[in-house]
Amino acid sequence: MTLTIEKGASSHSAYDLRDPHSQIEERHTLALLVENEPGTLARVIGLFSGRGYNIDSLTVAEVDHTGHRSRITLVTRGTPAVIEQIKAQLGRIVPVHEVHDLTVEGPAVERELGLFKVAGKGDRRVEALRIAEIFRAKVVDSTLESFVFEITGSPEKIDAFAELVRPLGLLEMARTGVAALPRGV
């Protein structure tokens, strides 16, 4: 073929993927700066449900009151082609001002907060408190038969904590989903 273009020739283009044909699903953390107005979140979520994309977690809060800006941190999963399509589709939403893929734009910190209610007596209670110390979880509520632990960290750390306290009397848990920022300036 005389016209074949070598692969990667347009690596500086935002539209080219590292391996566009890969069928392996990747986990990406996206940060969206959006207009803080009614319906914006519904449009973002509707895009994912309407087009069959996945949401692993989603957090949203206003970050600039005077500028009416909210920040949505969204963790999603898909093949590279799907991830590119998700970003392009998000970019079309009128009140979405910026779409950042923190997974490819450089190192980022990701944190999640979890609250865990663990009930138990005797050895189990002591063990739960010991594990909490190892994970630097805080006790934010205590009765003679239960604790509520607050833990902050990567989603993996919170997963690991949940696994360890589950046999010790885990009653319920609440997780915020990931909030993330790029490292450095």
């Binding site: 073929m1 005389t2 016209l3 074949t4 273009i5 347009s10 500086h12 283009s13 539209y15 080219d16 566009p20 044909h21 009614p38 319906g39 519904a42 449009r43 509707g46 309407g50 082609a81 590119e84 399509q85 392009a88 589709q89 970019g91 079309r92 939403i93 009128v94 009140p95 001002h97």
Partner: protein, 587 residues
């Protein structure tokens, strides 16, 4: 410039400032204040429809034939929900439409009030953007912004929901000048990509220009540049259903529409090309056939203003994000600067190959002297109206594909059809919208009997507003395309695909206060078409056609471009087995 007035007055003021001359709508409790304002002015004409779906299709017809946004006014609840099909149609086909809907007063929202519906919630997935305005002071700015969004970038429908108390309350009107400039930056095409495309243009042996609705949406300049480029380069041009007319059907480089019912030569050129230049087209499944075998040997360039259209279905090698007209101008400039190089020998051989495919005469059909073949009816319509100041709309189905195959369009904005959504019932209201925008022109809706019935109430609108639309109904007493698929795919079990008790269309025309005629003898066809054209007013021509005619050529579902079915006998035996099980799940 800013004045204090009621919200209802603001709506009319804002529309006037946006240059709106026509609104398609239907009144109701929640929009009465706006209708009161419409009553008290003469700048904006209101077309009273018979159903809100018709209003949106009329606005689409108006928009596509003028390049200006179409405007719709409906009431709350059912008024808004009836608009949903039209909004979805406009979204799929990138048509700028602004819908204003009434809503129950703000203090009643959420109480399940009479004619209350969550209109912004319901229309969110079928609009480019929508707004609920709760503050009269923000109403004017929101309307101006809505026009920006509807027409900017890739066009589309928007909706503004206006509670009744906001219409009654007073606020400060702001003109369009006061509105913030569109914060969305127009995409700037990457010069490196344009340069790469120009390099490819110089070397390509078997190029093809694959054009779509984006060329028409970009404006007349894009069509002009396309013609200039195609004629200077000698590259063959094919088009999607949406893009017909951007390059003239009489142009020397025209190789016909492509896709599922496209021409053999166009599909073979797409399959065999070494350079595909997609201009404002989105690689829809009707176009690609089996994606894995789509144009396997070509380098693909894709020009589109919508980044999400690029690499969505087909991965391309040269993505250019930008307005088709701007990109074409830049490509032409750079290519001209380099002396307009093309591969002459390659092109000559390529055209020879295309002529070979063309010789197959893929649209040929067996004509009859006793019964009117639908293809023949369209050939005669074309022969008797070509060259006239003509606009054509269609419904959806076999007749739509035959119209696309047999009618030729030499200018953009002359052909309105529901492409993406495939909305039966589109054509009649769309024809009214076109006629309102072009009162002196010949506007024909090529229809099937089943589609036409879906919005036939709009004949009342045509008669009331003296819109002399011509309804050209190819009547096979069948749901023709459904019947064709049942023949191909479901063992000729024709489940629910015929219409008994069809109305007498001539009497129906009389009942509506217009004229009609039925024709069934091929010998009378020309006379009937002439009568339809010459009649001063709306006209229904009921053309009784061959009931079991199939639409060919056809790429069966799940097949690539080079495996088309034809209407001749050699293929007849294949028809029952044409669609394999993996293709059967596709639509």
């Amino acid at each position: 410039m800013s004045q204090v007035m009621t919200g209802a007055r603001m709506v009319v003021e804002a529309l006037r400032d946006q240059g709106v001359d026509t609104v398609f709508g239907y009144p109701g409790g929640a929009v009465l204040p706006i209708y009161d304002e419409i009553f008290q002015q003469n700048d904006i004409r209101h077309i009273l429809v018979r159903h809100e779906q018709g209003a949106v299709h009329m606005a689409e017809g108006y928009a596509r034939s003028t390049g200006k946004p179409g405007v719709v006014l409906v009431t709350s609840g059912p008024g808004a929900t009836n608009a949903v099909t039209g909004l979805t149609d406009a979204l799929m086909d990138s048509i700028p439409v602004v819908v204003l809907s009434g809503q129950v007063p703000t203090f009643m929202i959420g109480t399940d009030g009479f004619q209350e519906a969550d209109t912004v919630g319901i229309t969110r997935p079928c609009t480019k953007h929508n707004w609920l305005v709760k503050d009269t002071d923000k109403l004017a700015a929101t309307i101006h912004r809505a026009f920006q969004v509807a027409t900017g970038g890739r066009p589309g429908p928007v909706l503004i929901d206006i509670p009744k108390d906001v219409q009654f309350a007073t606020g400060t009107y702001q003109g369009p000048q006061a509105a913030a400039p569109d914060p969305r930056v127009r995409p700037v095409p990457d010069p490196a990509m344009i340069e790469r495309l120009v390099d490819l243009i110089a070397r390509a042996e078997r190029p093809v220009l694959y054009t779509g609705g984006g060329v028409i949406n970009s404006g007349p300049e894009a069509s002009r540049l396309l013609r200039a480029f195609a004629d200077a380069s000698g590259f063959p041009v094919t088009s999607t259903l949406m893009g017909l007319g951007a390059y003239p059907a009489s142009g020397k480089n025209w190789i016909g529409m492509l896709g599922m019912h496209g021409l053999y030569e166009a599909n073979m050129a797409m399959h065999g090309c070494d350079l595909m230049i997609a201009l404002g087209a989105r690689f829809d499944d009707r176009i690609t056939g089996r994606v894995a075998d789509f144009s396997p040997g070509s380098v693909k360039a894709h020009v589109d203003i919508d980044r999400s259209s690029v690499n969505k279905v087909i991965r391309v090698d040269v993505p250019i994000i930008g307005d088709v007209g701007e990109v074409l101008a830049e490509v032409l400039r750079l290519w001209t600067e380099r002396g307009r190089p093309v591969n002459r020998e390659g092109l000559a051989a390529w055209w020879q190959q295309i002529e070979g495919w063309r010789a197959k005469d893929c649209l040929s059909f067996r004509n009859s002297t006793t019964i009117i073949k639908p293809q023949h009816a369209l050939q005669r319509l074309e022969a008797l109206t070509r060259g006239m100041d003509r606009y054509v709309t269609t419904e959806v189905g076999q007749h739509q594909m035959w119209a696309a195959q047999f009618l030729g369009f030499d200018e953009p904005n002359r052909w309105m059809t529901s492409g993406g959504l495939g909305t039966m019932g589109y054509g009649l209201p769309a024809s009214v919208g076109v006629q309102v925008a072009h009162p002196e022109s010949l506007v024909i809706n090529v229809a099937g009997d089943a589609s036409w019935l879906m919005n036939m109430q709009e004949m009342g609108t045509a008669v009331q507003f003296r819109a002399p639309v011509k309804q050209f109904i190819l009547n096979n007493e069948r749901l023709g395309m459904v019947r064709q698929w049942q023949q191909l795919l479901h063992g000729e079990r024709y489940s629910q695909s015929w219409s008994e008790s069809l109305p007498d269309f001539v009497k129906l025309a009389e009942a509506f206060g217009c004229a009609g005629r039925q024709v069934k003898d091929p010998a009378d066809l020309d006379d009937a078409i002439r009568e339809m054209i010459e009649y001063d007013g709306p006209f229904i021509l009921d053309v009784l056609v061959e009931r079991h005619e199939n639409c060919f050529p056809m790429i069966p579902s799940g097949k690539p471009h080079n495996e088309m079915l034809f209407g001749d006998s050699e293929a007849a035996e294949d028809i029952g087995t044409a669609i394999k099980s993996d293709g059967a799940v596709l639509v």
